[in-house]
C-alpha cells in the first residue's frame, strides 16, 4: 500500500497536534473510534464569541490515513462557523487525501469527530443557558 503524497505530508508534518482544555466552556471535544478497532481520534475546537472556530487541535491513535484525516480537518475547521463545520463530509476528506477504499473509514471517523466535537460544544453552551 503506497501512500499518497498529501497523506505523507500530513503524517510527517501534522498540523495542530495537541490538546485544549476540555473543561473550558468555549471548547468542544470529540473522541471517536476504539483502540480495539485500531483507531481513536480526539478532535477539539475552540469557538469564539461570534460562533466561529478560532482553534482546532487533534490527537490520533491510528494509521497514517487516520492521522492525516484528522490533521486535515483541523486545518479546514479554523475560521468556519459551526454549521459550516458540520457540512464537511467524509467524501471531501477522502477525495482530498485520495484515500483508497480500505482507508475510507478514516475519513468517516474524522467526520464523526467533527460532529461529536460540535455537539459537545453545543451541549456545554446549552447547560450554561
Amino acid at each position: 500500500m503506497a501512500y499518497n503524497e498529501k497523506v505523507l505530508d500530513h503524517y510527517e508534518n501534522p498540523r495542530n497536534v495537541g490538546s485544549l482544555d476540555k473543561e473550558d466552556p468555549q471548547v468542544g471535544t470529540g473522541m471517536v473510534g476504539a483502540p480495539a478497532c485500531g483507531d481513536v481520534m480526539k478532535l477539539q475546537i475552540r469557538v469564539d464569541d461570534q460562533g466561529v472556530i478560532s482553534d482546532a487541535k487533534f490527537k490520533t491513535f491510528g494509521c497514517g490515513s487516520a492521522i492525516a484525516s484528522s490533521s486535515l480537518v483541523t486545518e479546514w475547521l479554523k475560521g468556519k462557523s459551526l454549521d459550516e463545520a458540520l457540512s464537511i463530509k467524509n467524501q471531501q476528506i477522502a477525495d482530498e487525501l485520495a484515500l483508497p477504499p480500505v482507508k475510507i473509514h478514516c475519513s468517516v471517523l474524522a467526520e464523526d469527530a467533527i460532529k461529536t466535537a460540535v455537539s459537545d460544544y453545543r451541549k456545554k453552551q446549552k447547560a450554561l443557558g
Binding site: 473510534g33 490520533t60 471517523l109
Partner: protein, 403 residues
C-alpha cells in the same frame, strides 16, 4: 550502512550471493530438462537435481528418496494435508492443528472441512506453545493427522517437536510439521522428532522463491494422494518439470544453513537481544508477544502501547518490518496469531514484528533502536490514548463505541 534496512526475515530472506552464484549456470548454459533421458543436457540437469535432493535431505537427517520437490511451503502444506486426508480417509477423518498455524495449513484444513473432514483447531497457551496434555486429549481413534509448525512466522515460538512426535507415534497418528520458518534455524531431525511429513521453503532460508520440498517418510511408509498429476515426476507424488536452477539454489541454501547454523544463530541471537534490550530499556509500556526462551533467534514481536502498528511502520520507513503476517497485511483485522495468545485486539494493533537474519549488522540494530524510540515518542505525543494513560486513566476501563 545502506538504507532502507531489511528487518523482515520471516516474510522472505534475501538470497545468499553464494546461492545465486550456484544457480546462474543452470538458466542459460545448462538448461536441460531433468526428465530428458536421451541426452547430456537432461543428464547433467538430473544430476544437479539429485545433488540438491541430498542437500535438502541432509538438513532434516532424511534419506534423499524421501524428499519431494514442490513450488514452495504452501504447496507442501497443501500436499501433505490434502494428500494424507484423501489417502487415509477410510481410516479416519479427523485432523488436529493449532489455531496459530500458517494460513496454508489452516486454509487447507478449512477446505477439507467443507469436504466433510472434522478438524480440531487446538488453542495454544499464552506463550504460544502447544499444550501437550490438551493435544493428547484431542486425539481420537478417528484422528489421522496432527499438523504443527516448527516455528511460528509471526511470533517465532518453537514448538516441542520431539514431544509432539513421540505422542503422535505412540497414538499411531501421522505428524506433519510445517518447518518453513524453523528449518535452517534450529536442529531438525525427522527420526529424533518422529516426524512423518515436513514442509520446507527455499526463500525463508536464503534460497530462491518458487521452490520448496515435502519430506515424506519411507519407513514406515507414509502414503499420499498427489495434488498435481502428470508426467509422474517425484515418484508420482508431484508432477511438473523440475526447475533445475531453483532446486540447485535450494540445495545450496540448505547446505549453507546446515554448515553455518550454529555460528549464525549466535550472531543473530546477540543482535536480537541487543534490539530487545535497547527498546525495553528506553521505552515503557512495551509487551513482548510470544515466549522468549522457546523462540527463533531472529524474531522479536513487540506491542508498543498506544502506538498503532501501521503508523509506526510509516514512521520508521527506513526500516522494513511488518505488522502481523505479510500474507494477511492487506486486511485490517489484527493478527489472528496474537489474538490466539489472548492478546487484546488493541495490543495486536500495536504489534510490530522485527525479523533479523544472516545479513543483519550491529550498526543496523543500533539505527533501528534509535529510529523506533524516536518514532514511538513522537507518535505517543500524538496519541490520545497515551495522553489518557499519562493522566492516570485506564484506557481499558473506558466505554468505547466500537464502529
Amino acid at each position: 550502512m545502506k538504507l532502507p534496512i531489511y528487518m523482515d526475515y520471516q516474510a522472505t530472506t534475501p538470497m545468499d550471493p553464494r546461492v545465486l552464484e550456484e544457480m546462474l549456470p543452470w538458466f542459460v548454459e545448462k538448461f536441460g530438462n531433468p526428465a530428458s533421458r536421451s541426452h547430456v543436457f537432461g543428464w547433467e540437469a538430473d544430476q544437479a537435481v539429485e545433488k540438491a535432493r541430498e542437500q535438502v535431505a541432509a538438513l532434516l537427517g532424511a534419506d534423499p528418496r524421501e524428499i519431494v520437490f514442490t513450488s514452495g511451503a504452501t504447496e507442501s502444506d497443501n500436499l501433505a494435508i490434502q494428500g494424507v486426508a484423501r489417502f487415509y480417509q477410510d481410516k479416519g477423518q479427523h485432523i488436529i492443528t493449532p489455531v496459530t498455524e500458517h494460513k496454508a495449513v489452516l486454509d487447507t484444513c478449512r477446505y477439507l472441512e467443507a469436504e466433510g473432514f472434522s478438524i480440531t483447531y487446538l488453542p495454544v497457551q499464552k506463550n504460544g506453545l502447544v499444550d501437550l496434555d490438551l493435544l493428547a486429549a484431542s486425539i481420537t481413534d478417528q484422528t489421522i493427522l496432527v499438523s504443527i509448525m516448527a516455528a511460528n512466522n509471526e511470533i517465532g515460538v518453537l514448538q516441542p517437536l520431539a514431544d509432539i512426535g513421540q505422542l503422535c507415534r505412540q497414538k499411531k497418528v501421522l505428524f506433519h510439521c510445517d518447518a518453513a520458518q524453523g528449518a535452517g534455524k534450529m536442529a531438525l531431525n525427522v527420526d529424533a522428532m518422529s516426524m512423518d511429513l515436513v514442509s520446507l521453503s527455499g526463500h525463508k532460508i536464503y534460497g530462491p522463491k518458487g521452490v520448496g520440498a515435502l519430506y515424506v517418510r519411507r519407513r514406515p511408509r507414509v502414503r499420499l494422494k498427489p495434488i498435481i498429476h502428470g508426467g509422474g515426476h517425484e515418484r508420482g507424488m508431484r508432477s511438473g518439470t523440475l526447475p533445475t536452477p531453483l532446486l540447485v539454489g535450494f540445495g545450496k541454501a540448505c547446505e549453507l544453513a546446515m554448515q553455518e547454523m550454529e555460528t549464525e544463530n549466535r550472531h543473530v541471537l546477540a543482535l536480537r537481544e541487543r534490539l530487545r534490550e535497547g527498546l525495553f530499556s528506553q521505552l515503557t509500556h512495551l509487551e513482548l508477544n510470544g515466549d522468549l526462551q522457546h523462540r527463533l533467534a531472529g524474531n522479536l514481536n513487540v506491542s508498543f502501547g498506544f502506538v498503532e502498528g501501521e503508523s509506526m511502520m510509516m514512521a520508521i520507513k527506513d526500516v522494513a518490518v511488518s505488522s502481523g503476517s505479510a500474507c494477511t497485511s492487506a486486511s485490517l483485522e489484527p493478527s489472528y496469531v496474537l489474538r490466539a495468545l489472548g492478546v487484546s485486539e488493541e495490543q495486536a494493533h500495536t504489534s510490530i514484528r522485527f525479523g533479523l537474519g544472516r545479513f543483519t549488522t550491529e550498526e543496523e540494530v543500533n539505527f533501528v533502536i534509535k529510529t523506533v524510540v524516536q518514532a514511538v515518542n513522537r507518535l505517543r505525543e500524538m496519541s490520545p490514548l497515551w495522553e489518557m494513560s499519562q493522566a492516570g486513566i485506564d484506557v481499558n476501563s473506558v466505554q468505547w463505541d466500537a464502529h
